[in-house]
């Protein structure tokens, strides 16, 4: 490609899916949700991601459909802006600037030019609901200044605000108060519940609110698990409420069905409860959803529900309470103690998942493959329980073996350790428990590593522990008269002056084992388990240890807690070089000599990529993350990139992923996630986004007839006729919504022209390509103009499939211009 690349960071898979309620789109079978910086569009039928809306450089607070036009979308950012855009094409119509940070935004069909915004006033915990008049203007960037106050003393979460009965009133909850503002009467009623001070154990705090779509009824969720249904609240005195109580813990979210006949609630029990007719006796459950329900949303057609969970999961549920699809992101519920690993077989990222599980996460498809239950015990979700933790895991022998370590520590002296060894079963395509070792060490295990060298026919595993020993485990024959079997036994126990073993690693060829004992690195011969030599730099405990690869295999690298990176030469047994660097993560690329190190400073984390043989880094990227980076891993690329610039060559074969403390997974890439979507899902979008309108039928028939004609023509005249889908003008015409298209008379000639055969295709092909690339560059430089992405994409596929272009360049440009036309007439509608 072109030599000028810029490496960008992208959130990859690790973005939170459960940040806000998902929004359904009723016309097509899509639903939308916020995923980090993007808004993702998934098909409800196939759960496949079909579209990613980009163009947000920071947190999307919430998004809504333009009330009267469902092809337009509002998205809102924490930092003072509102965008109105056509989400299918990604065209931004308007920016609205507000002088406040937006915590949540609401739109209503009956308040056409108003949006309701939660902003906070000077004090950090004082929030207000205000209505903002969006001024009519043709310009793209508009400053919205007309704020009018609606309610104060509210919560910042959008779950605590609900609009009821077609915008008759708005209900807001906070602490022990329910406030209702009536738009017509312009009055506020406030209802208070007794606070916990008065009553013992009464946790009456409001947690969420929902309004009945048809009736004057407000449902509120409470901290003690009660749901109250308020009625008659337009009279401050005659108000009445009824209680529904099933949840034993806080009600996280509430939603009414479209007709209002049933109420959905969810909480930490991970059970979706449907209250039919709002009666206590008539309730249905959908249990075992896996994790705390954070949000519930209902599709406008009423046939689907959607719950988002604390483990970064979205479940689509049918009206009859059957889960139909699960969209699982990277599970973020637990702390990551295993680190990031790559399963050699599936090339999936492996790390802690659900409690007691290892998750296998496909980076290519940005979705979870499966969870492997390691602890194999029922997880009891309650505060204050000491759970068994999965602390270490390692893959060995090309993914044939998996070693896991789990621990449970109730008191200082009562440590319970267990090591499990899992063998990959080709028949079942999964890991099967082979050996379980109780208390493999007396104290915490600090490192587990397999010897991955090819010459070792016998799988070998080394564990290092705080008890001062490292143990070598080998696979032995465990057959008896009943069956042939293999099992793991301890082969050697090593120690060094009763120091705690902190790290261990094998050299690339497996001949040497390096074990660090606090400040000292010991080198052992893996044949005889003899201590060969020791290195000691007196620069603090060794935090990371690794051997160099390939041409640098004679080097051993160690990073200490005092911020020194040392490189020893194993041939001379001397320190080659050392550098002062406070290293948090050190990760060797298994397929090159490169080693990535992430250092932590007060301002942020910096990335250094270097080869052990030279102390000068290949590549430095400052400030890759504001927070602490906890883990990193190199992943081999499917298709090697060809960066020519020396600084990026380390990214050619591998990709570096890293995980920050807030468990967002980041990577270095030049591609946007939209491009990474597989072509199949793209096609899915094209097909499904065509509504079954009369126009579709006519056009569909027309196309079929044309196809037949083409076939006939092919046979008879042997002239290549392009398919209609492949003509950009037509596909654009079809993919652009009708309301942004120019008049039909204007398009007609272009449309007909595009169906004609052009004769100079071959001669024009080469210069056209160049043109397009130039344009692409200009697109890249203009960061805000994301709408060209799509055409760019079609171009790519065109290039790949080598299809003859029928439209001249100038014509195409002209068509594109129509799309850039001023759309101010839209606001007049």
């Amino acid at each position: 490609m072109v030599e000028e690349e810029s490496v960008l960071f992208f959130f990859c898979g690790g973005s939170e899916l459960n940040f806000r309620r998902a929004v359904f789109f009723f016309f097509f079978n899509f639903f939308f949700f916020v995923s980090g910086d993007f808004v993702k569009v998934h098909s409800t039928a196939t759960e496949e991601c079909v579209h990613i809306l980009q163009g947000h450089r920071n947190l999307v607070t919430v998004f809504f459909f333009y009330p009267n036009n469902h092809l337009q979308l509002y998205s809102f950012f924490f930092f003072c802006t509102i965008k109105l855009w056509d989400y299918i094409d990604g065209i931004i119509f308007h920016f609205f600037f507000l002088g406040h940070k937006l915590h949540a935004v609401f739109t209503l069909a009956c308040f056409f030019f108003f949006v309701f915004v939660i902003i906070n006033k000077e004090k950090p915990d004082v929030f207000q609901l205000v209505s903002v008049k969006l001024p009519k203007s043709s310009s793209q960037e508009i400053e919205a200044k007309e704020l009018s106050f609606v309610l104060d003393y509210i919560n910042q979460s959008p779950k605590c605000i609900a609009f009821g009965n077609e915008g008759e009133y708005v209900a807001a909850v906070r602490d022990f108060y329910l406030s209702v503002y009536f738009f017509k009467k312009k009055t506020t009623s406030r209802f208070a519940l007794s606070s916990s001070k008065n009553k013992k154990h009464a946790k009456n705090n409001f947690t969420c609110v929902a309004c009945h779509p048809k009736e004057d009824c407000i449902a509120t969720g409470h901290k003690d698990g009660k749901i109250r249904l308020w009625r008659n609240f337009d009279d401050g005195k005659k108000y009445t409420y009824t209680c529904l109580h099933w949840h034993h813990d806080m009600v996280m979210d509430l939603a009414f069905s479209v007709t209002g006949t049933s109420l959905l609630s969810g909480g930490r029990e991970s059970v979706l409860v449907e209250w039919r007719d709002a009666t206590e006796k008539n309730k249905e459950f959908l249990p075992r959803l896996g994790a705390t329900i954070e949000h519930i949303s209902v599709s406008p057609a009423g046939d689907l529900f959607c719950t988002s969970h604390s483990d970064n999961k979205i479940i689509i549920i049918h009206r009859n309470l059957e889960a139909s699809a699960v969209i699982q992101g990277l599970v973020k519920d637990s702390s990551i103690s295993t680190g990031l690993m790559i399963d050699p077989r599936t090339k999936a990222l492996v790390l802690n998942g659900k409690p007691g599980h290892l998750q296998f996460y496909s980076l290519q498809h940005d979705k979870q493959l499966y969870n492997l239950d390691i602890i194999q015990q029922e997880y009891i979700n309650d505060y204050g329980l000491i759970q068994i933790e999965l602390t270490k895991a390692a893959f060995g022998c090309y993914g044939n073996w998996l070693a896991t370590v789990e621990k449970r520590q109730e008191k200082e002296t009562e440590l319970d350790l267990q090591m499990k060894l899992w063998m990959y079963n080709k028949k079942t395509q999964g890991f099967v428990l082979n050996t379980k070792i109780n208390m493999p060490h007396e104290d915490h295990i600090t490192a587990v590593c397999f010897c991955n060298a090819e010459k070792f026919e016998n799988p070998t595993l080394v564990t290092a522990s705080k008890d001062g020993h490292f143990k070598v485990w080998i696979l032995t024959d465990d057959s008896d008269i009943y069956k042939k079997a293999v099992g793991w036994t301890c082969d050697f126990v090593g120690s060094y002056h009763k120091y705690q073993a902190t790290n261990c690693c094998f050299s690339e060829d497996g001949s040497l084992l390096a074990v660090s004992f606090e400040e000292i690195v010991t080198i052992w011969d893996s044949e005889t388990w003899e201590l060969k030599c020791t290195f000691c730099q007196r620069a603090g405990n060794i935090r990371h240890l690794c051997f160099g690869r390939l041409t640098c295999s004679k080097y051993l690298l160690g990073a200490t807690e005092n911020g020194i990176l040392c490189c020893w030469n194993l041939l001379s047994c001397a320190l080659e070089w050392s550098a002062k660097l406070n290293i948090r993560v050190m990760e060797p690329d298994p397929h090159s000599e490169n080693i990535a190190a992430i250092s932590q400073s007060s301002v942020g984390s910096d990335l250094f990529v270097f080869k052990p043989r030279e102390p000068r880094p290949l590549y430095i990227q400052k400030n890759i993350s504001r927070e602490e980076v906890q883990w990193g891993v190199f992943v081999l690329r499917d298709v090697p990139e060809s960066f020519t610039s020396e600084a990026y060559q380390w990214l050619n074969r591998s990709q570096f992923y890293f995980l920050t403390k807030s468990q967002s997974l980041l990577t270095f890439s030049t591609k946007s996630p939209e491009e990474k979507l597989t072509p199949t899902s793209k096609q899915l979008l094209a097909e499904e986004s065509l509504p079954t309108t009369p126009f579709y039928f006519i056009l569909g028939k027309h196309r079929e007839q044309q196809d037949e004609k083409i076939n006939e023509a092919l046979e008879s005249e042997r002239v290549q006729l392009p398919l209609t889908e492949n003509i950009p003008a037509i596909s654009e015409l079809l993919h652009t919504p009708a309301h942004v298209l120019p008049s039909a008379s204007f398009l007609c000639s272009k449309f007909v022209n595009s169906l004609l055969l052009s004769k100079e295709t071959k001669s024009e092909e080469i210069p056209e390509d160049v043109d397009m690339e130039e344009e692409k560059e200009s697109d890249d430089s203009d960061e805000e103009n994301d709408f060209t992405e799509k055409t760019q994409d079609t171009n790519d596929t065109d290039l790949g499939e080598d299809i003859i272009h029928q439209l001249s360049k100038s014509e195409e440009k002209e068509l594109r211009k129509f799309r850039k036309v001023d759309y101010s007439w839209l606001t007049v509608l």
Binding site: E168, K214, D216, T240, T242, C243, T279, N282
Partner: protein, 686 residues
């Protein structure tokens, strides 16, 4: 306050009987309550929920329905097949009419108050005409297959809804024929139960029939088409009772699980006229079946097997948040069931069908204040006296000397003479009671046990001289001309010269025993008298009323005493007025004439007339000031009301001698332990 040795008596094994029916009368704001033993009690809701009247029960007369008719007439019907009208003045049964349809399960008075309809065991509905002094059978409605368990008139009086087993019928009153028959689903939590019993129906003016049944459902039916409109499943057990407010904007149902549910008619949206019934609040004030509910304009009233009468005010209907807005739970009768012989330290306990005589235990030990002294001699159960016949005991009394016991049922008066020979007791009935001594509402012995005073239900007071083993009728005070009100409270002065008697509403009459004539009448007061007593020496009459006011009236001077005037001028402490049980007994300390001892169910109080009265700023329920405080502070904080709340629920407290008190408690837990087990409910976390 002084130190006392207290006999803490807990062996009074009294269990009130369960509430079966509740009927609320809007005009007089009175509540009629019938219990499973046939007792009917009248509560005056305006007078601090005081139980002003009661009609003793009868073994065979289990009431199943209770109704108020026009002109404050009270009717009941029961399983003996009789319709009974009560005389609320004379406190007796006016007449009983047999409906000839087997046991009567339900009864309803027409909205105009002129007709009475009963539903019988044999499935017949019988219409009676209410005449001025009787009821007259009019005709039968179409006979149904099974018993009619519930009845409700349409407010226009044209139709009647009748709940039976498995179906509800709607009758046209004019023709007496069934217009609709609405079958009720037998399914109960998807299990087919054998029968679905319609425990209650309510007919609303818009034609809606609300039914409650044994499958736990509250159902709304359209009586015009006979179709089910809405179904609320609210309980896993029977829903047993229903009551609708007069405005028809709310109703209340009671379930066998002890929960009372409130339903309200709520507009669907604020700007539409469409309204719907919504279940709003559940109230769990009962542990057992809620057999009866009533809906007063401002409160929900419920009663059931657990014997409590619960009055739950509706907050939105209460104008000011005063003490009427608080929940009331009435468990114990507002009259005395215990009498005491001070001389022999005997207690006489009155039960529905027997009397028990106990001798108090004694101790020789001494101790500090607050110590529990070990008994050297246990309390003795001396006597168990069963009544003859099915009637309940109305009242009983033991003479102060302990040698006489008198009790009365509705039809007979009994007097016994007790002889003590060492440890043995012999009982001898005094025979040949005069004909006029048939039924007594209150019996009292004079302090020297030589005279017996009997308040009969005709309004007359009989004075009888007691001799060894015989008696002599001295005099009968006839009621004031024109009134037929019965006297229910009596008090005699310790010197035996004065007798005070009070009815339910009119003032207290004071009679001179020596001259056998009416001495004076204490001016009548708005609230009924709950307790009466005459102080020794001064002959001051102390009167407690149901609004918690206490008056002191000097009989010789025929006027209120100075202290009484002072306290009326200053007013009682607000906390004193907010107590929710009436004072049931007043007594005096023989050596301290300034002290008045009185108690209600939850406190015991000594009023020291010599001390200043408390105002609203002072602490009413002050704990005893520690003795090490200086005298000045003690004097400053002391006020006339010394209140002790150690003993509760307190049924009786009296002074045995100068230093000894007897307190009879009846812990609620002991009552609950004797009730049938409630429906078992799964409770989360247990």
């Amino acid at each position: 306050m002084g130190e006392f040795k207290v006999h803490r008596v807990r062996f009074f094994n009294y269990v009130p009987s369960g509430i079966r029916c509740v009927a609320y009368n809007n005009q007089s704001n009175r509540l009629a309550v019938s219990r499973t033993d046939g007792t009917v009690e009248i509560y005056n809701l305006s007078a601090n929920y005081f139980q002003e009247k009661f009609f003793p029960g009868h073994e065979s007369r289990a009431t199943e329905a209770l109704c108020w008719a026009k002109g404050q007439r009270l009717f009941s019907a029961g399983l003996n097949g009789e319709i009974i009208e009560y005389d609320l003045q004379a406190l007796n049964i006016k007449y009983a009419v047999d409906a000839f349809g087997g046991p009567i399960w339900s009864m309803a008075i027409s909205p105009h108050g002129s007709q009475l309809l009963v539903g019988c065991e044999d499935g017949s509905l019988k219409l009676f005409q209410i005449t001025l002094d009787k009821i007259q059978f009019e005709r039968n409605f179409d006979r149904q297959k099974s018993r009619i368990l519930s009845l409700s008139w349409h407010p226009s009086g044209t139709h009647v809804a009748a709940g039976s087993i498995d179906y509800i019928s709607v009758f046209d009153v004019k023709s007496g024929s069934a217009v609709h028959k609405m079958l009720v689903d037998r399914q109960y939590m998807s299990v087919s139960k054998r029968k679905c019993i319609i425990w209650g129906v309510a007919f609303l003016s818009d034609g809606t029939v609300i039914s409650v049944d044994s499958a736990g459902k509250v159902q709304f039916w359209d009586s015009a088409t006979g179709t089910l409109v809405k179904n609320h499943l609210i309980a896993n057990a029977d829903v047993q009772s229903i009551a609708v407010s007069d405005q028809e904007d709310s109703f209340v149902v009671g379930t066998a699980e002890g929960t009372v549910f409130h339903f309200q008619l709520v507009s669907v949206t604020s700007n539409s006229s469409e309204k719907q019934w919504v279940r709003t609040k559940p109230f769990q004030h009962h542990t057992h079946d809620v057999r009866a509910v009533a809906h007063s304009p401002t409160a929900l009233i419920s009663g059931g097997t657990d014997t409590h009468l619960v009055i739950r005010p509706l907050m939105e209907k209460v104008e000011v948040k005063n003490y009427d807005a608080a929940l009331r739970k009435i468990t114990f009768p507002h009259r005395r069931l215990i009498s005491c012989s001070k001389k022999r330290q005997l207690l006489l306990f009155q039960f529905a069908h027997h009397l028990e005589l106990w001798r108090l235990g004694s101790t020789v030990a001494t101790g500090k204040n607050g110590d529990t002294l070990p008994l050297s001699k246990d309390a003795d159960h001396l006597l168990h006296l069963k009544t003859k016949g099915p009637e309940n005991i109305i009242c009983s009394c033991i003479s102060p000397c302990g040698s006489w016991i008198a009790y009365s049922t509705t039809s007979r008066f009994f007097l016994y003479r007790l002889n003590y020979e060492h440890d043995n007791i012999s009982l001898q009935r005094v025979s040949k009671m005069p004909a006029f001594l048939r039924s007594a509402l209150q019996i009292l012995f004079s302090e020297d046990s030589t005279k017996l005073f009997v308040a009969s239900n005709q309004g007359s007071l009989h004075v009888i001289r007691l001799l060894e083993g015989s008696f002599k009728h001295l005099h009968t005070f006839q009621p004031q001309s024109g009134t037929v009100e019965s006297m229910c409270l009596l008090a005699v002065s310790p010197d035996g010269n004065w007798l005070a008697a009070s009815g339910t509403s009119a003032g207290v009459h004071v009679y001179n025993i020596k001259h056998l004539k009416l001495h004076c009448t204490v001016p009548s007061y708005n609230f009924p008298v709950t307790a009466l007593a005459i102080a020794p020496n001064t002959n001051n009459l102390v009167i407690a009323h149901s609004d918690q006011q206490v008056f002191e009236y000097s009989i010789p001077d025929k006027q209120y005493t100075e202290w009484s005037r002072t306290i009326q001028k200053q007013g009682f402490h607000y906390l004193w007025l907010q107590r929710d049980t009436p004072i049931t007994h007043i007594s005096f300390h023989p050596k301290r004439p300034m002290h008045i001892l009185l108690h209600d169910a939850y406190m015991f109080c000594i009023i020291d007339k010599s001390l200043p009265l408390p105002n609203d700023k002072t602490l009413l329920y002050n704990p005893l000031p520690p003795t090490n405080e200086s005298d000045v502070i003690r004097r400053r904080t002391a006020h006339a009301f010394k209140i002790s709340k150690i003993y509760k629920p307190l049924l009786f407290m009296d002074l045995l001698d100068e230093r000894t008190l007897v307190a009879v408690e009846r812990p609620l837990d002991d009552i609950i332990a004797q009730l049938p087990p409630p429906i078992k409910k799964k409770k989360f976390g247990t």
